[in-house]
């Protein structure tokens, strides 16, 4: 266990160091992407299509930052094992540490971007909420579990079906529009509302936004997210366990 923690720590440090070593603006890049998208969606939906929604920029930012955390993790996950072929073929270290480190790395990026969200909360004349103290760690844990589970499965299966990488890219970008990030759950016609929550990201993203904007959490949505997260983690780990001993054969 001690060793597994060390392995994960060293791999996470590696990712962080590599990311910032050759980058002049470093931290700014991790917030530039969601901010740029917030600007684009603001122009498209608020300025051009005139969506009636107060504080739409804040609304976007409260959803786009956690979404970015998820989609970045999903984007790197096909490469986690593939990119370490030379060492996986020779050394029998615990491979899941690589997935954990990659997701942790993205988690750290999300965590350090929270002050930016808070800045916009204040900019739009709202204040901090006491519920953040437990709400933010709770939702982070749920999203961390969900992401780890999916990443474990995608990273493992991609070694056998290399097409999965392309499928993952398309799925994530489609999923974005089926997730209430640029619209709210209320705007979905009632007959489709139940369908939206079949998307594992939907209740989670809705929870993030209501937490940042109003300091409230809907227990039902959080519970549903937690169920999805637990299922993803269990499923992902099973897939990984089933395939891990064949990694060195296919690489």
């Amino acid at each position: 266990m001690r060793y597994f923690i060390d392995l994960t720590t060293v791999l996470t440090q590696k990712e962080l160091k590599v990311r910032y070593k050759n980058s002049f603006f470093g931290y700014l890049w991790s917030i530039a992407h969601p901010l740029a998208f917030a600007a684009v969606f603001f122009v498209a939906f608020k300025v051009i299509m005139r969506v009636q929604m107060e504080d739409y920029v804040l609304f976007l930012i409260a959803g786009l930052f956690p979404w970015q955390w998820f989609s970045n993790s999903a984007g790197i996950s096909p490469h986690i094992f593939l990119g370490n072929a030379s060492i996986i073929k020779k050394v029998n270290f615990e491979r899941s540490a690589g997935v954990l480190a990659a997701v942790l790395n993205e988690t750290i990026h999300f965590a350090v971007s929270i002050p930016v969200i808070v800045f916009f909360v204040y900019y739009y004349g709202r204040g901090a909420h006491a519920s953040w103290l437990y709400g933010i760690p709770l939702l982070m844990l749920v999203q961390f579990m969900l992401t780890c589970g999916l990443a474990l499965a995608v990273a493992s299966v991609n070694l056998f079906f290399r097409d999965l990488e392309r499928i993952a890219v398309i799925t994530v970008s489609m999923l974005f529009y089926f997730t209430p990030v640029i619209y709210s759950l209320d705007m979905v016609p009632p007959q489709y509302r139940a369908l939206v929550n079949l998307n594992p990201l939907a209740p989670l993203m809705a929870s993030w936004r209501s937490l940042f904007m109003y300091g409230t959490l809907d227990a039902g949505l959080v519970a549903l997210s937690a169920v999805y997260a637990a299922a993803a983690l269990a499923g992902g780990y099973l897939v990984y366990r089933k395939l891990v001993w064949k990694f060195a054969e296919v690489l």
Partner: protein, 249 residues
């Protein structure tokens, strides 16, 4: 039951032909019945009924042509592959000596890479820190140790890799063709270090195409040909037979 650190008993290894999979989902699905059938039937056999033991402190050389199954054998010993039939038992801390640059990152400094590689190879962070000074000294990289790896020459990367591996205190060491890189002086240093391992009672599997090194370092040699142990015996004998065969081909 024998207590030798490395025991292969009746080991066979076949690989499924994964190209049906890596050819893509589309191919796989469109030819599903065929793909499933061929998946079950077309297997590639790398090793068949291989049995040997390596005693504690012994250095076993493995020679054989390309594709004879040497790398599969090392993979089985390292525990990254599972045997299809038979059993592989390796006890103690295993340290594979990696090929050039494996497990290193080009953008990290020598020091950072020592930590990364050391932990990947099975040490805790505290254990790497204890050994850090000795590893740096052994590598003779001087000021380069604080430079990113991308400015290193191949020889320097090899030196760093060997330095980490040499300080792992393994019980079993797996060595695959590493002496092919690096200059003569570095090779000499590696051989010197391997002799030191032998004195310390480290068990070694040594795969090489360099017959002089095999003769120099090994206590016993097995020759893998056509998936099986073709010959096993004293280094001079096996090397002579193997070289003779090579010349005859």
């Amino acid at each position: 039951m024998s207590s030798a650190p490395i025991i292969f008993s009746g080991v066979g290894k076949t690989y499924p032909m994964y190209h049906h999979f890596t050819g893509g989902i589309k191919n796989f699905l469109f030819n599903l019945p065929e793909a499933l059938r061929s998946l079950r039937s077309s297997r590639f056999e790398a090793l068949r009924d291989v049995s040997f033991e390596v005693a504690k402190g012994e250095t076993l050389g493995i020679v054989g042509g390309n594709g004879a199954g040497k790398s599969t054998l090392l993979g089985l010993a390292a525990g990254v592959l599972r045997p299809t039939t038979g059993a592989v038992k390796v006890s103690g801390r295993i340290s594979p000596l990696l090929e050039l640059g494996a497990g290193f990152h080009r953008d990290l400094t020598g020091l950072e890479n020592i930590m990364l590689n050391g932990v990947l190879l099975g040490l805790t962070r505290a254990e790497v820190k204890e050994r850090l000074a000795a590893i740096v000294e052994f590598s003779e990289l001087g000021a380069f140790i604080d430079q990113p790896l991308r400015v290193y020459s191949n020889g320097m990367v090899a030196r760093l890799g060997f330095s980490v591996a040499a300080h792992l205190d393994p019980d079993v060491m797996l060595i695959d063709e590493v002496l092919a890189v690096g200059d003569e002086e570095f090779q000499k240093k590696c051989l010197e270090k391997m002799r030191e391992f032998k004195r310390k009672g480290v068990t070694m599997l040594f795969v090489s195409h360099s017959m002089p090194s095999v003769k120099l370092i090994c206590d016993r040699v097995i020759w893998i040909a056509d998936r099986r142990v073709h010959m096993s015996g004293a280094p001079a004998e096996v090397v002579r037979a193997y070289a003779g065969e090579g010349a005859g081909l």
